[in-house]
């Protein structure tokens, strides 16, 4: 059941020609990209372009779905009814983003079932940020402020990426992420301006989440596996380091306004560059988290597997009911 290829025979044949990837096709495709053309689902495209997009969009979808868990961790314990309602609405948005993105990826011929199977087997990755725990309420604010903030910086350029269905999905996703970022900052603002223990909780959360948020932009340009080809294909428009710098420059003043301290002793404004210089990211931690899931990676996957396994009988029942119902309708006719 996990080998569904959604393409029709005609599409497969057409794309098999593309898959031979002779130089002329590659060149023609690159010309379209260079001319700023938007590639649509049924257009000819190099298999590598297709595979890259499936990997990227499905990872993005997985991150949205897994990302529900660290936030869901506080739904039942949210400190007020208003915060509970906002958090529920936000998580609902994230689930919607996941579905939206799986649909965008399905236009490339891979089924959602296949992609989810890759997540559950551990083959596909999700954003490293969601392997970090959310032990305090302040983390819900910090996740909105920093994590959704970083996501926006990453994703706004994707609204103009070369693959149409992905670009269009990102327009809506970015609008909602922008709201999420503001609500997160508002939580942190309320705490930073509240009682001393609230401000301390906000600072402690910032201390934990700052560096993992910077890691969300991926490895440095020198170590990035996919950046160069992706930029050529206009899937990616700016390098990891450029986006990371953009995020830092936007976020540091936001922390200063609240009287919170960014946990980086090397952070300093560089007048010449008109940007912040910042300390070395612990890349050993990044690679370790990516490979073994860090603090919560395994429990996040376990939770997703449990949800999926617990849903097996529900899906089977829905399938059996639909089949019976269809048969009955057929007989009645």
């Amino acid at each position: 059941m996990y080998s569904t290829d959604l393409r029709t025979d005609t599409e497969k044949k057409a794309q098999a020609v593309t898959a031979s990837e002779d130089a002329a096709l590659w060149e023609a495709f690159q010309k379209r990209i260079d001319a700023g053309d938007i590639i649509e689902a049924k257009d000819a495209m190099p298999e590598k372009y297709r595979a890259t997009l499936v990997r990227q969009i499905s990872q993005h979808a997985h991150s949205e779905i897994v990302g529900m868990l660290p936030e869901g961790n506080w739904v039942t314990r949210a400190p007020s009814l208003k915060r509970k309602l906002i958090l529920l609405a936000k998580i609902q948005d994230e689930a919607g983003h996941g579905l939206y993105l799986y649909s965008a990826a399905e236009t490339l011929g891979r089924s959602r079932d296949d992609m989810v199977a890759d997540l559950l087997s551990g083959k596909a990755k999700f954003s490293t940020i969601f392997t970090y725990p959310t032990p305090t309420w302040a983390d819900i604010g910090t996740v909105g402020w920093l994590v959704d903030g970083a996501a926006i910086v990453n994703q706004i350029p994707l609204c103009r990426c070369s693959y149409g269905p992905y670009a269009r999905a990102m327009v809506r996703v970015c609008k909602e992420e922008s709201f999420h970022q503001r609500q997160g900052y508002e939580i942190v603002t309320t705490m930073a301006r509240g009682a001393p223990e609230q401000k301390a909780m906000a600072q402690e959360s910032l201390n934990r989440m700052w560096w993992p948020s910077l890691m969300m932009f991926g490895p440095s340009d020198a170590a990035s596996l996919h950046s160069s080809q992706n930029m050529k294909w206009n899937i990616k428009r700016h390098s990891n380091d450029v986006l990371r710098q953009r995020f830092i420059d936007a976020t540091v003043p936001q922390a200063e306004i609240l009287g919170l301290t960014i946990p980086d002793p090397d952070l300093v404004w560089n007048k010449e560059r008109e940007a912040y210089d910042f300390g070395e990211i612990n890349w050993d931690e990044f690679w370790a988290v990516l490979k073994d899931g860090g603090q919560c990676g395994k429990s996040r996957l376990r939770a997703r597997r449990a949800a999926h396994d617990n849903g097996t009988w529900v899906r089977e029942a829905a399938g059996a009911y639909a089949k019976k119902h269809k048969t009955r309708v057929g007989k009645a006719a």
Binding site: P79, S80, K84, A307, G311, A318, Y321, A322
Partner: protein, 256 residues
């Protein structure tokens, strides 16, 4: 300030409605990220959102009618267990998706009857809250009814799980239609119509759905269980409150 218990029957009744919505919303929000399918995750989260939104409006209204606490959160999230007046049904656990659906179907169909009785209330705010909520309830019934049929008339396993869910939850439905002194006072004052007269119709509606759902039967139970409206709860509510009240009790008086 200390929490005060409602003196007026109308306020007590509104708190009862709010507690029902809050506790079921809280139960459903436990499923966030854990539902059997992503679309169902969104649906259950949305139910929680609707219900807690209803609770919020109702608590605000109750606090306008009587001075019960310094704000809604203090009242909603810090009371003692026996000061919650929700029915027992809404606190029943998320055993599996069959239990979630049966609980939702019983509650939403009951809530429809209960809120329709408020549409002509002489309390215009309460009538407006009911009118708004009924739109949400209609969707909840539609989704729950669809799954009642799919699970009851699906596979052998899904049917067995539905039988178990009915066996566990049917016993809490009598309480929903009990006419106690609080409700009687509201009926007398014109704040609510007497929806308890609809109990038999509600039961017939349930039987009709059971029969469409693979010919499920109402279980033979020896007694209906109640007490929630009077603050007499089973083991479930205390565990719900432990999480729900955590922040308000640990940091009293702070704004978040």
């Amino acid at each position: 300030m200390a929490i005060h218990i409602p003196n007026k029957p109308e306020t007590a009744y509104i708190v009862r409605l709010a507690d029902n919505a809050l506790i079921l919303g809280q139960r459903l929000s436990e499923m966030c990220g854990h539902a059997p399918e992503m679309e169902l995750d969104i649906a259950l989260t949305n139910f929680a959102l609707d219900l807690i939104g209803q609770a919020n409006l109702l608590y605000e209204h109750a606090l306008n009618l009587e001075t019960l606490a310094s704000n809604v959160d203090e009242f909603a999230l810090t009371r003692s267990l026996d000061d919650y007046h929700n029915c027992l049904l809404v606190a029943q656990p998320n055993v599996d998706f069959a239990h979630i659906i049966v609980r939702q179907y019983f509650f939403s169909t009951f809530q429809k009857t209960q809120y329709e009785a408020l549409l002509g209330s002489n309390d215009k705010t309460l009538a407006a809250i009911a009118e708004k909520s009924l739109k949400e309830i209609a969707y909840q019934i539609r989704l729950a009814h669809g799954w009642m049929l799919r699970l009851g008339d699906g596979t052998e396993e899904s049917r067995a799980r539905m039988v178990d869910a009915l066996d566990c939850l049917w016993r809490y439905t009598g309480e929903l239609f009990e006419k106690d002194s609080t409700l009687s006072a509201l009926i007398k004052s014109g704040a609510s119509a007497d929806f308890t007269l609809e109990y038999k119709n509600w039961q017939s509606e349930m039987m009709k759905t059971f029969s469409q759902a693979g010919d499920l039967q109402a279980p033979d139970i020896l007694q209906m269980l109640s007490g929630g409206h009077d603050g007499q709860h089973d083991e479930n509510l205390g565990h719900i409150l432990k999480g729900m009240q955590y922040m308000q009790l640990k940091y009293p008086g702070l704004q978040w």
